[in-house]
Amino acid sequence: MMQAKTVLIVDDSRVSRMMARQYIGGLHADWTVVEAATGEESLLKAREVAPDLVLMDVNMPGMGGIAAAELLRQEFPAMPISLLTANVQTATRERAAAMGVGFVEKPITEARIALLLSPLEAA
């Protein structure tokens, strides 16, 4: 039986957090979803809950998603992190790849969330 996982959603948009939560809950009702609205908050939440996956928006007030992902990567080298962003630029994809984090485009859809969760299901 698959062990329940914890997913940290980092996005300044409440509606995006709500949609991601809804899709994750629809796919895995027993998984825990934790939310952070800023990059700074994501660091605190990651230390608190040690998530199995972090979904990180890029364009946020204060510390952006790239900077937050870099800090998370330094502190938690093995933690799976994926950018989930409207910023579709090649430069952003390349930055993600250089940091060793995933990249998925918004808008948030059930199919995209399922794709992000699938490696955890196999684990």
């Binding site: 948009s13 409440r14 509606v15 709500m18 809804q22 946020m60 579709v88 808008p107």
Partner: protein, 209 residues
């Protein structure tokens, strides 16, 4: 006076067409229905006239509009604005989040949700442009505006007599009969930067760069 050659004009339309195609795909994924978008039209006009052009589209009286704007800088500088009729914005948010969210909660999150929709659609278009130009464009956080197109354009930029490139695209959510439009406003300095980028693109297309 700012001029584009026929080839530059053609390349500009083509590049924005590709960007708009990506934006339409994103919009369609948000609202779960087909979105039709027009070929971009370009005009070099004073900002006040650009506002009148947008405002006079459907009615004798200026329509109240919900606008989401983002400022981009890098390869060139532009203000990108997504606009919908004000009375349709709640319907668009409903299409995005589905029927399960209660109306009260939906109304509370309307402004924030429209900002996120603008963020996704504008970045989809502008990000595609940046990829084509092979030069990064850095975007601000989305800003929400309510008012006539004149008020929104004034709130997002320079004076009424500034000459701007008005590049606008109409789109239609056919099933729900919702019209909207995207506009890019560039001042003269930005126009020259954009022209440089277009010429680099043309040179690459011709194998000269």
């Amino acid at each position: 006076m700012f001029n584009l050659t026929e080839l530059e004009n053609d390349a500009l339309i083509e590049i924005f067409n590709i960007g708009v195609g990506q934006a339409a795909a994103s919009m369609s994924a948000i609202v779960h229905e087909a979105v039709h978008m027009s070929v971009p039209s370009i005009s070099f006009i004073p900002r006040a006239e650009a506002a009148r052009l947008l405002g006079a589209r459907d009615a004798a009286e200026p329509e109240r509009i919900c606008g989401i704007s983002q400022h981009y800088q890098g390869a060139f500088e532009t203000e990108a604005i997504l606009m919908f009729p004000e009375d349709k914005s709640l319907e668009i948010v409903r299409l995005m989040v589905g029927e399960s969210v209660p109306l009260k909660e939906l109304t509370e999150m309307e402004q924030e949700a429209m900002c996120e929709i603008g963020n996704i659609i504008l970045n989809s278009c502008v990000g595609t442009l940046a990829n084509i130009f092979q030069h990064e464009l850095e975007g601000s956080l989305p800003q929400y505006h309510l008012g006539t197109s004149d008020e929104i354009l004034t709130a997002t930029g320079s004076g009424a007599d500034t000459v701007v490139l008005m590049l606008h695209i109409d789109f239609l959510l056919e099933k729900h009969q919702i019209h909207g439009y995207v506009a890019f406003v560039l001042d003269i300095t930005a126009l020259h930067d954009l022209k440089d980028q277009i010429n680099l693109y043309i040179a690459r297309a011709m194998g000269q760069a």
